[in-house]
Amino acid sequence: MSKKIETLFIFSFLVLFTLATLYPALNIIGISLRTDDAFQSRSLALWTSESSFRSYVTLFLKTDFLTWMKNSFLVSFVVTLTGVVLASTSGYALSRFNFMGRRAVLSSLLMTQMFPATMLLLPFFILLAKLKLINSYLGLIIIYSSTALPFCIWQMKGYYDTIPDALEEAARIDGCSRFSAFTKVILPVSAPALVITALFSFMASWSEYVVAAIVLQDPGLYTLPLGLKSFQASLSTQWGLYAAGAVVVSIPVMILFISLSRFLVSGLTVGSVKG
């Protein structure tokens, strides 16, 4: 098989595969353009004669969607910031220092991923109620940042491990304190990993529903998933609105992913072994 034909073959395969992969995503867009009732239709077409942007108009003009969006951005922004700060510092400690309890911390980080999250809800609630953090973003932010942390810390630690120690040693000899060597030299080098960590923290809070549902009770505080879910009553869902909302909710994450995909490949070091 000549090289050209092979490339053509692979190329067409990838095109087909990508289309198939994208179909479900396109499907939501299709539904969002239909009326609520046309949601069960036999047509595979994404755009039909009945399609319109009506749901989107309703979404933005007649619902509190913009408020939810603002809330979600606020929460996600703070969570991302805390997540990045905490993960980058503690990942650094775990990567560079051989202190007592280091192994225990690392293993327990992995272990936190093993416990079914649903069973954490009740204790969360009790804890927040005791701290009077129900119905406040602070409670939500604490939970979100902490639940995303174990993975982010691992991820940061994995990346630091690939950076030679000599770098901050050079910085320290150049006159940096431990901390400024970290902030001035190591952090800039770790940009790809920081971006990934930020992305994950953002994702963890942006589309989270279950915890938000127990923490936030006041509709004025709703985040996007909560708002979205309110279109979906148990016996009557406004599918058009729901799908339109889903599309709009997905857009920021998509944009982030797409624009950061370069970093994803270089920065995602879940398991690079120190070397």
């Binding site: 030679p164 000599a166 770098l167 040693e169 050079a170 910085a171 320290r172 000899i173 150049d174 006159g175 940096c176 304190s177 400024s180 001035k184 030299v185 800039p188 080098v189 940009a191």
Partner: protein, 367 residues
């Protein structure tokens, strides 16, 4: 006066004792080379001076002050790392300027210092590049430059040339040496390459297994190695060490070994040898063996009949591996005639350049 003095430094990692009581002093303005085989603890020692490791015991004294508890950032030493450790996100200029920015120097001052160092190292063309756009040699210069900008009292080098090819290494060796003469400050240079040590050092500190084997000028180490280890480590190709006995026959002293008998009478203080236990190790450097064929003064008493095993031609000299009885001898001979494996060869021993060591302690027998 910015000497560095290490007193009784010891260091272990876990159960591994890496440094076992190191005492060494680099005088002000001296170029001191710490050399030793891989893993002997040189880097650790250097890092202790820099403050990157804390010694378990002993004192680090820089410029007359005890610095054990001083943070590396405050020790006023500069260090060049084996892998250069350039900051990958910064340009060459920023790499050089970094230490000055940390110290909050004025912009002009920084600029001046950076340009000065860059010109000295001929990297002023590269200032806008990132480290990954540089060749190995260029990176090396930038790493040097980064140290230079600091104008430190003490320079530390940890095998800075080991990643370079042979030719570049030689160039840089000269350049560093030149720098030293220009700047005239204390430099401590770690390497495992004896050639670097010999060519660059004012004094060499030879380490092995966490202890110091010998400190001295290159000549001292070459001419008066303190023990067999030093004698083998210094000098290329390495010295021939031959186990044997010193016997007295008819009032004259002889060194006897399998296939070898050498008259030692011409050695000055030969009496000393006679008093000792007769088992010794004799050392003779390949360059002190001569081909009888070309010799102007023949010395039949000290000529060894050998059979050639292998010849390595190095251009001006040839390294000839041969044996006599069970004794292996390598000699570096000026090429004048072609020698083939299997040929027989008469080697004259230069009796005055023989070294003797105690067989048990391996210490030098001072004559």
């Amino acid at each position: 006066m910015a000497g560095v003095s290490l007193q009784a430094i010891s260091k272990s990692f876990g159960d591994n004792t890496i440094l076992k009581g190191i005492d060494v002093q680099a005088h002000s303005r001296e170029f001191m080379v710490i050399v030793g085989p891989s893993g002997c603890g040189k880097s650790t020692l250097l890092r202790i001076i820099a403050g990157l490791e804390t010694p378990d015991g002993g004192d680090v004294i820089i410029d007359g002050e005890r610095k054990n508890d001083t943070d590396p950032s405050k020790r006023e030493v500069a260090m060049v790392f084996q892998n250069y450790a350039l900051y990958p996100t910064m340009t060459v200029y920023e790499n050089l300027a970094f230490s000055q920015r940390i110290r909050k120097r004025s912009k002009d001052e920084i600029d001046k210092r950076v340009m000065e160092s860059a010109e000295m190292l001929k990297i002023d063309e590269l200032l806008d590049r990132k480290p990954k756009e540089l060749s190995g040699g260029q990176r090396q210069r930038v790493a040097l430059g980064r140290a230079l900008v600091r104008k430190p009292k003490v320079f530390l080098f940890d095998e800075p040339l080991s990643n370079l090819d042979a030719k570049l290494r030689q160039e840089m060796r000269l350049e560093i040496k030149k720098l030293h003469t220009q700047l005239n400050n204390t430099m401590i240079y770690v390497t495992h390459d004896q050639t670097e040590a010999m060519t660059m050092a004012d004094r060499i500190c030879l380490m092995n297994n966490g202890i110091i084997e010998q400190i001295g000028t290159p000549e001292e180490l070459y001419n008066k190695p303190a023990n067999t280890f030093v004698s083998t480590f210094i000098g290329m190709p390495p010295i021939n060490l031959i186990d044997g006995e010193v016997c007295t026959e008819n009032g004259s002293a002889f060194f006897m070994s399998d296939g070898m008998r050498i008259n030692l009478e011409k050695i000055k203080n030969i009496e000393l040898l006679k008093d000792l236990d007769k088992h010794v190790i004799m050392g003779i450097r390949p360059e002190n063996l001569h081909d009888n064929y070309f010799a102007e003064i023949k010395d039949p008493e000290n000529t060894i009949k050998c059979t050639v095993d292998l010849v390595e031609n190095l251009g001006s000299v040839a390294l000839v591996h041969s044996h006599s009885g069970n004794t292996h001898l390598s000699a570096s001979l000026t090429t004048g005639k072609t020698i083939h494996p299997g040929d027989s060869l008469d080697l004259i021993v230069d009796v005055n350049s023989l070294h003797f060591f105690h067989q048990e302690t391996k210490e030098r027998i001072k004559l």
